[in-house]
């Protein structure tokens, strides 16, 4: 197996693995059960997406995708901060979500 082939192979594997991670993370967003859980999962989704983008970048040779990954990191951070702030301000968990 040449290095290039190995890379191809591992990229494909990685895409599969990352897809699985995506689905699991999404599952947590859907399941909850609390808002912090969902936000955490969303944050995680960003992380997985960054990895996904990196893999895609290598796979297609368009390394320019990196910048998108970085920007995604930035706004992902912002989203989490905003949600944290939101949770902090609200102070009480919505009843439905505790159940």
């Amino acid at each position: 197996m040449t290095a290039a082939l190995f890379l191809q192979w591992s990229l494909n594997v990685a895409l599969g693995v990352l897809s699985l991670s995506f689905l699991l993370t999404v599952a947590r967003v859907v399941i909850g059960p609390t808002l912090p859980d969902r936000v955490l999962a969303l944050d995680m989704l960003v992380a997985v997406a960054i990895g996904f983008i990196a893999v895609l970048g290598i796979r297609t040779g368009h390394t320019l995708y990196t910048d998108i990954a970085i920007a995604l990191g930035l706004v992902g951070f912002l989203a989490t901060v905003a949600f944290a702030r939101f949770i902090l301000r609200r102070r009480t968990i919505e009843r439905e979500e505790v159940e």
Binding site: L64, D67, I68, A71, L74, V81, A84, R85
Partner: protein, 139 residues
């Protein structure tokens, strides 16, 4: 938000993100990016700063009223298009000039100033929105 950890790191993050936003703005012509995305990143930077230190700090930091920035951006963008009147070409025709500075060729163009206009509009409008919403919260 009054947490030491966040407040300590926020100024650096903000500066970094602003820098990144300009980077994205300037290279949009060749790679993904451009005024709009750059503006969004800048807004994200400002939002982080605002969440950390509150609305008044952001207003002071921006110096101009955000909507005035937005208006200026639109003026810049439209004016970039109007420059072509002088050249006898239609509205919004890209006009390019390049000069040498310290041995490097620097291109300037109305297309670039147009994109900077876009950047300013996005930056101004969205930060105005965010600030107004937050103002409401505090007051």
């Amino acid at each position: 938000m009054r947490t030491l950890i966040f407040r300590t790191i926020a100024p650096a993050l903000t500066s970094l993100m602003l820098l990144f936003s300009v980077f994205v703005l300037l290279r949009g012509h060749n790679d993904p990016g451009g005024g709009f995305i750059g503006g969004l990143i800048a807004v994200a930077a400002i939002a982080i700063y605002g969440i950390a230190f509150g609305v008044p700090s952001v207003r002071r930091a921006l110096y101009f009223h955000p909507l005035a920035i937005s208006g200026a951006g639109l003026l810049l963008a439209a004016a970039s298009g109007l420059l072509s009147f002088v050249q006898g070409v239609p509205f919004l025709t890209g006009i390019w000039a390049s000069f040498y500075f310290l041995g490097a060729e620097i291109d300037v163009s109305t297309v670039m100033s147009f994109d900077i206009g876009v950047y300013l509009v996005v930056l101004g409008s969205l930060s105005s929105v965010a600030l107004a919403l937050e103002d409401r919260e505090d007051g």
